[in-house]
Symmetry: C2
Subunit: 211 residues, 2 copies
């Protein structure tokens, strides 16, 4: 986001928050500059001073959402790989343990609405690709650490990361679109089974019985 020394940071932050509220309230299809101005309690002119077009505003807004999302999923690099993996899974399913700036499911719903526009918008695709790469890279690094430490089997880290990423992605869309708040919990169970039943070395799993 472009910053200035004249308090325009604050205004831009206020516009982003107003856009978020307007999106949550009206949905993407009914999101207008006027509805954002109403939430901001200012005229449309103030918004246009910072963003030429609605498209420019939405591109900045997606960047803003993805930055919030990436702050939310930061994990402790010193924890053991299996613990880090489960923390990452939990955070992507339920939001950060310390409540972030946004309600997790409202943020997920807002992101899904913008994602659905991505087939029609190259800039949205570019930003989302970057975000996906960031998240997948976190999974790859964690799986690689686990293999290196002898905790995980010698799987293809990219393949494992891809599986975890798409599962979480699918769970989120399922939960948001069908408003099923049991999906995250079922997904946590499935993925724990995959982490301990497939990814972790069998020795770690059957230690007591294999003598």
């Amino acid at each position: 986001m472009v910053t200035g020394s004249d308090g325009s940071d604050d205004t831009q932050e206020a516009i982003m928050r107003a856009t978020y509220r307007a999106l949550c309230e009206h949905g993407y299809a009914n999101l207008t500059m006027q509805s954002i101005a109403d939430e901001l309690d200012k005229t449309k002119g103030v918004i246009h001073y910072h963003y030429d077009t609605k498209d420019a505003l939405l591109v900045a807004f997606l960047e803003y959402l993805l930055e919030a999302f990436e702050r939310n999923i930061a994990v402790d690099e010193d924890a053991p790989p299996d613990e880090r993996l489960l923390t990452l899974i939990d955070t992507l399913l339920f939001g950060p343990p310390e409540r972030g700036e946004f309600d997790h499911w409202e943020l997920m719903t807002a992101l899904l609405e913008i994602r659905t526009q991505a087939p029609f918008d190259e800039e949205f695709r570019r930003q989302l690709s970057q975000n996906y790469e960031t998240v997948e890279a976190m999974f790859v690094a964690t799986v690689e650490d686990g293999i290196e430490q002898g905790l995980f089997r010698d799987v293809d880290p990219e393949l494992a990361a891809h599986l975890l990423f798409i599962s979480l992605n699918g769970a989120r869309v399922y939960q948001v679109t069908l408003q099923r708040d049991d999906i995250a919990e079922a997904t946590k169970e499935s993925l724990e089974e995959i982490v301990y039943g497939w990814l972790c070395r069998p020795e770690a799993d059957v230690d007591t019985s294999s003598g």
Copy 2:
């Protein structure tokens, strides 16, 4: 779909196909009764005769899409469970082997657009839930058969079905929104690894080396 003896079946089928073309061309946000009438090459009156409102038309349209989708994923019940599972995965990723009535990715894009409206529409949610249950039930039955035949480990079939379902769901959204036609292939690889590395009994996997 309501049927009649006056050729209204054909008209309704033609309206559904026109809605599909209009959706693919204009996207959900710009889908109007007029754009559908243009594709149908008839007046809006013809559409209104069959469907009172745009909402009623879209509910019928979602049913139509989901029926096409369910016809596309029918599998051979007599094939061995692991083969059936892979066929189901393949079909959900790449469409039916014998090309269905619709282009697979166009159908997926159209469905995603309607799914994104589901948080705001109870009837959409009801239909999609039913469809999800149908697909998940196919996975559950296949995993249960595999366990019964001693081919799969004694996992929780619901949990395995959930994992497969959300992965495929997530892969589809990923591929459609970011227009990445390599995602389906990467997902196929990940899920084959899960089927053979986790779900199948280790004996089946290491048969040659365990003597």
